[in-house]
């Protein structure tokens, strides 16, 4: 019975092929499609974009030494999901990504963001005459597209509480602006964030005023569409101060005043001190040495620890965001 069905099936298939040959006067030209197994294939046509991405933290997601150290060399395997993800569109928008086994050293690569379940590539145009067969996909621009990874540290949740969300200003509007401000030139794939100190500087302002014997430093989140800092419990921003001499030079070591950070789960003695978007936090400096001229500075760190915890060296181990002088 099974053999008979197979013979009938094959016979029917032959007849169908013949019918199709007769029906189609001229078959459409074959599309030279490709199976994409590495982002290096994308670079063959999109060299400029690939070069931007190569300088981004997405490209470093698997190989960055700090990431490797903080994930215990990915022995914390739950980190792999976002640091070497399968395509976002495979599990769908606003769903968690799953980890992949191949090309992990490419990190968050072209395929992770652009490959669609049918093998086409999500983009801004629709074409079927090129190997990657781009499909115009508005979902690429949605915050839900970034959420599978970036909301693991609550960045998208933070954003939802801001005016930016109300106005529809999403992730890519700041982190992937149009090249040269021109929509025709496409979006910048360098994807600046906390690793760009200029970008960090644009997020906050630092002011300081005298109030009685104290100096009050005021940090305001003026530019980040989420908390400052965000995305990683390892990131920290610290307010330091030190006296100034008559020549306006800092005297002695920097003195710690305040830290903005979300603590790890085991740090039960710490509280979350991240600065929400649009918010201002005042830090009071009441030391006797602060009665004279002082300078106040805000530093940013990608890892929370100081080499010598009791004697932090912000100039050596962190990056200066803002500095301000306060005279008596």
């Amino acid at each position: 019975m099974s053999v008979l069905r197979t013979v009938l099936g094959v016979g029917f298939l032959g007849a169908t092929v013949l019918a199709l040959t007769l029906v189609f006067e001229k078959p459409p030209p074959p599309v030279d499609t490709a199976v994409f197994t590495s982002s290096s294939q994308c670079a063959q046509c999109h060299a400029g974009v690939a070069a931007e991405w190569a300088g981004s933290q997405h490209a470093e997601a698997w190989i960055n030494p700090a990431v490797r150290a903080l994930s215990n060399d990915f022995a914390n395997t739950d980190c792999i999901d976002c640091h070497a993800p399968r395509p976002v569109f495979e599990t769908g928008l606003a769903n968690r990504v799953l980890p992949r086994e191949s090309r992990r050293n490419e990190g968050v690569d072209c395929i992770a963001c652009h490959q669609l379940p049918d093998g086409r590539m999500a983009g801004t145009i629709e074409r079927s005459d090129v190997a990657c067969r781009p499909a115009a996909t508005v979902d690429l621009a949605r915050v839900e597209f970034c959420a599978p990874c970036h909301d693991q540290h609550k960045t998208i949740t933070q954003w939802r509480e801001t005016e930016y969300a109300e106005k529809g200003v999403g992730c890519i509007d700041c982190h992937m602006p149009f090249r040269g401000g021109d929509p025709n030139l496409g979006r910048d794939h360098t994807m600046h964030g906390g690793h760009s100190i200029e970008f960090v500087r644009s997020a906050v302002t630092l002011e300081a005023v005298r109030r009685g014997d104290a100096v009050v430093a005021r940090v305001t989140n003026v530019g980040a569409g989420h908390h400052f800092p965000t995305d990683e419990r390892s990131r920290a921003a610290d307010v330091f101060w030190r006296p100034l001499d008559a020549g306006g030079h800092g005297v002695g070591a920097w003195r710690f005043a305040y830290r903005f950070r979300s603590p790890y789960r085991h740090e039960v003695e710490l509280t979350d001190t991240l600065l929400p978007a649009h918010a201002t936090r005042e830090v009071e400096i009441t030391d006797d040495d602060a009665r004279g001229a002082i300078e106040v500075a805000l530093f940013f760190k990608l890892s929370p620890y100081w080499t010598v915890p009791d004697r932090p060296d912000p100039e050596g181990e962190a990056r200066l965001v803002q500095r301000i002088m306060v005279r008596p």
Partner: protein, 501 residues
């Protein structure tokens, strides 16, 4: 000139006809393939939701208590528990038990009050331990994480041991992931062991070997030795070995879990679909550290309709290693389910059972999905044997992708064939296209393999190699990583020169 509109209609008609013909062809072909010898489809169904509902029906979650205890009675218990007279303290514990759930809120308030004297907070923890109900142990589990004072967290662990309700096991195990106070870890490990769960033994070994405080090192060593002795093992290493090798000789006691503990296991399995990866990993961690009765639940969850449940259940089985040996047949079956196959292959590799070698070898040879092929090749490093070598060498051949070659080289190292791939690994160590970290690990394994064989130059090389391991608190920069790899490349070259001789 033909009418373009007529042309479009004709074109659509042709397309419709072609599609209908293709549909019929597909039906005919599928009829021809109706072969009973085809591999069975890996069934997907609703597993965790119904199982959790049934588990809750068997062991309902305790309702919050509404009554309140007499404040004077509560105060009397707290005051007496501070007494130096052990007889009076015993009576106070009996009184606390008699007060029961209505007193839980009052004792919980004292326990959480950071301004209260330490003796009073300790007494509150003891009272909660004596009450020994779901409500009172829930407070102790919560405060095991939440209170700031390490001595009080240790006290909570001790009282959970006293209460002896096994449903607290997941909560205790979870703290092994986060607790940083050495003494508290010792009491957590001890409490777990009181339920015949020895997942804290590994932490005791770490504390004994590496803690900076000699008192903690000593206490951990003492507790480890005592646990081993109480169970009839020669030493802590033997106990550790029995637990992590899945107790092949059946020396460890096996308890039947209560319905409440089974409910907790299903609840943790239901958490695998959560958005937050830390929540998911907490659930995974607890499921990995439960006793072996949880393996059939994980196996069943491989069939859940939700992809995250399936994938994370497979990861749990993999992380259990040999303690999930009973899952091998179902994991082999899962190799046919595309959404699960790479994780099933990973799990089979971690379990390391040779029974999986043949199906993994088949996938390493012919899987079309590159992720699955790599996962199978990696798994053969521990689940494979001599029959796997040919396939691994084929996967390592230069015409294959760099990822597959690197995975195959790593597995060849683990199967004792490292000399043939060491040069390749050395190239990968400084390559920009290969995963240099994977190459570094494989080279370390290669040197360790030779050192384990006892050759003096290799033991020295291994010592120098390990010296360069970054400390847990180091966050090296790219320059430091490059320097470390250059130094290790020199060591590997020295090793290669040795094998050439």
């Amino acid at each position: 000139m033909s009418d373009p509109c007529v042309g479009r209609i004709a074109s659509r008609a042709r397309r419709a006809f072609a599609l209908s013909v293709l549909g019929m062809v597909a039906i005919a072909v599928s009829c021809g393939r109706a072969d009973p010898s085809r591999p069975k489809v890996f069934e997907l169904r609703d597993v965790v939701g119904p199982a959790l509902a049934a588990a809750i029906a068997r062991a309902p979650i305790a309702e919050p208590t509404t009554g309140t205890a007499n404040p004077e009675a509560v105060e009397a218990v707290l005051g007496t528990l501070d007494s130096p007279d052990s007889r009076l303290r015993g009576l106070a514990l009996a009184d606390a038990k008699a007060l029961g759930d209505p007193a839980v809120a009052a004792f919980a308030t004292v326990l959480a009050d950071s301004t209260a004297p330490p003796a009073r907070r300790t007494a509150a923890a003891q009272a909660l331990g004596a009450i020994a109900t779901r409500a009172s142990t829930a407070v102790l589990v919560h405060d095991l994480e939440a209170v700031h004072e390490p001595w009080l967290r240790a006290q909570c662990a001790w009282q959970l041991r006293e209460a002896q309700l096994d449903e607290v096991i997941p909560g205790l195990a979870d703290r092994l992931k986060y607790e940083i106070d050495g003494n508290t870890v010792i009491w957590i490990a001890d409490a777990l062991a009181s339920f015949d769960n020895f997942s804290g033994v590994e932490a005791l070994r770490v504390l004994r070997n590496t803690h900076s405080d000699p008192d903690v090192r000593g206490a951990a060593a003492e507790r480890l030795a005592a646990l081993a002795s109480e169970r009839g093992f020669a030493d802590g290493e033997a106990l550790y070995d029995a637990w992590y090798r899945g107790d092949p000789e059946g020396r460890l006691p096996a308890r039947t879990p209560s319905d409440a503990l089974r409910r907790e296991a299903w609840w943790h399995l239901s958490r695998l679909v959560e958005w937050d990866l830390r929540t998911v990993d907490d659930a995974r961690f607890a499921l990995v550290h439960m006793e072996s009765w949880v393996v059939p639940l994980l196996v069943e969850s491989l069939h859940d309709r939700d992809v995250y449940t399936r994938v994370h259940a497979a990861q749990c089985l993999g992380r259990r290693g040999p303690r999930a040996r009973a899952a091998v047949p179902e994991l082999v079956a899962a190799l046919t389910e595309p959404s699960l196959a790479p994780q099933a292959a990973f799990a089979l590799g971690e379990i390391g059972d040779r029974a999986a070698a043949v199906p993994l070898e088949e996938l390493a040879r012919s899987a079309r999905d590159v992720d699955l092929r790599i996962a199978a090749v990696r798994a053969l490093g521990s689940a494979g044997g001599p029959s796997s070598l040919e396939g691994l060498r084929a996967a390592w051949s230069p015409d294959q992708s760099i990822d597959l070659r690197l995975a195959a080289a790593g597995s060849l190292v683990r199967l004792g064939e490292g000399d043939s791939v060491a040069s390749f690994l050395l190239e990968c160590l400084t390559s920009k296209v290969a995963d240099a970290s994977a190459a570094e690990h494989a080279l370390g394994d290669w040197i360790a393999h030779h050192a384990d064989a006892g050759a003096a130059p290799w033991t020295e090389l291994r010592r120098r190699w390990r010296e360069l391991d970054p400390s847990p608190t180091d966050v090296p920069n790219a320059v430091q990583v490059a320097e470390r790899r250059a130094a290790r490349a020199a060591m590997a070259r020295a090793g290669l020169a040795g094998t050439a001789k």
